[in-house]
């Protein structure tokens, strides 16, 4: 990054530019949950998600947003999740302008900082699977939110299993999606 840009960031405006990524109460008791299948991230309201694309686009976008889940401290794609990723690969190949971001998540167990590493591994696992199905790697961003944004707030295996997941959101090119043939 050029130094000139860094200098810009040295003023307070840099902070204001960044919207809230995480709801303020999302790790506490009784926290809110994000509905399943909803990417729930800034990209959700960002450019080119469902803007005027009609029912078909909305349905394809919803399929792209389907989450996949992981075993404890694992980043291996489960066999039952392969069809979900295969469908995403099909949609991505049918819509060359489409770009997505995969965000990996962990349950509340494990170290806070290691969970960011684990989330990154989980996001990378999905990316590598999609790339193996013929999607160009440059169309897939990865990020990790570790244990910072659970979808289920309980401290039990049912909640933990829901939280060990990858979420998928459209970054761009999602205005009018074409169904794979």
């Amino acid at each position: 990054m050029p130094l000139a840009l860094l200098a810009l960031c040295a003023v307070a405006a840099c902070g204001k530019k960044d919207p809230v990524v995480v709801p303020p109460t999302d790790t506490g008791p009784g926290s809110t949950t994000t509905p399943a299948g909803n990417p729930g991230t800034p990209g959700n309201t960002g450019p080119g998600n469902t803007g005027g694309g009609g029912d078909a686009t909305r349905a394809l976008a919803a399929e792209l947003a389907n989450m996949i889940h992981f075993d404890l401290d694992q980043d291996a794609i489960k066999p039952e999740d392969r069809p979900i990723l295969d469908r995403k690969a099909d949609i991505l190949r049918a819509n060359p302008a489409l770009r997505i971001r995969v965000s990996g998540h962990a349950d509340e167990r494990g170290s806070d900082e290691y969970n960011l590493v684990l989330g990154n591994k989980r996001a990378l696992a999905a990316k590598q699977y999609l790339v193996s199905k013929g999607v160009d790697a440059s169309r897939i961003d990865v990020t990790s939110l570790g244990e910072e944004r659970p979808v289920a707030s309980g401290s039990d295996e049912g909640s933990w299993a829901q939280n060990r997941r990858d979420e998928f959101e459209i970054i761009s090119g999602g205005d009018r999606l074409v169904a794979p043939r």
Partner: protein
Amino acid sequence: MTKVRTMRAAGTVGTVAAFALLAALPPQVSAQDTVRVGITYRPGVRPGLVVLPAPGLDSVRAIVARDLDYGDRFEVIALTQTPPSDAAPRGPINFAFYRTLGAALALELVPAASGGVTARLYDLGAERFQAETTMPVDRSGTGDGRMTVHRLSDEIVRLGTGQPGIASTRMLFLNEDKRIWRVDSDGAGLVPVSPAGVSAASPVWSPDGARIAYMQFAADGSKPIVVQVVGSGTRSVVPTTSGTQNITPSFAPDGAGLMFARMSDQGVSLYGANVRDLCCVERLTGGRFAENFSPAYSPDGRRVVFVSTRSGGQQIYAMAADGTDQELLVPFDYGDTGNSNAPDWSPDGAAIAFHREVGGAPQIYTFDLAGRRPKQWTSSGRNEDPSWAPDGRHLVFVSNRTGRRQLFVVDTETARTRQIVTPGSARLPAWSRSFGRPQ
């Protein structure tokens, strides 16, 4: 302060030059630094200390008494009664009476003519005045003035034991609102530090306490490392961390170097940057598909302790600050010893604190570098992310033993533990260096 240190060193040799230096220094400083104290500090022994009634200084007295209690160098004896009026004191205070309370020392606090406070220590056994110090203190003991009282507390500890205190310190932590917050060592002065509306994590102090660094969750999914000036709030992004995935920053002791971990398609590696000149980023660990993160410098800046998954789970490794000479630091039995994370190097260089999973829950450990033995400090609930106090003896860490994640402080000499109550949940604490005089 360099002058004072020079004087102390020379003073022990007793050269003529030392006397010349002494004469050149302000009398107050030399008095604090050269008085020989009768009580010799012995690890594990806490002399009883009673804080005498201090008319007009009730707030100061209450804060000092609590600071001395929290510092664990003295056993602070509560004063439930005053000397009977028929017991005439011999000398300036009633030595015999206070001795009956079990105290070895008495602390007298009196308003100083300068507007500050004079603290006097008396040896109750020898029945004599021992030492005193006068400090500029905000006698109201409120708001920002509390820190002036904490500095007095640390001087009293130094006067009585020759050891550094921890009263004039602060802690950073990640609050439930995803902002970095700050709290004084005694639990007062809670205030958010990082901007509202920005999710952050993993705060650390610069060595002088003037800046902090933390990672930020940016809207585009990236994780820049931000350095923020505490006083002005001015923030700058560490070079090359914008638009990339970076976690776990750590300042070098020189305040110019900053190490952090970057996540990429190839794994997680440690990088070093110069944050004074905002330049010169270099990768320090290599290896595809290994993860290296959570670095922490040794106090001399020569070595770094960090977490690596190169042997399977997460374990504690060390390396030279330039990335060479990497070694497993804390021994473990593969498949048997739980994951170990969050290492922090003690300010005296003698030990590493970290947490290790035992039976599915993390517990606080220290690893003595001379004896090379891990020692477990907690067992109830989940206890994680320890950070050393500047005295090299206290640790702050996170525990859920009360039901929600809160900050706790443990004294690694006595195992005495106290909670720092914060609203919401508290995670990832970082203990500052002293905001008093340099130690």
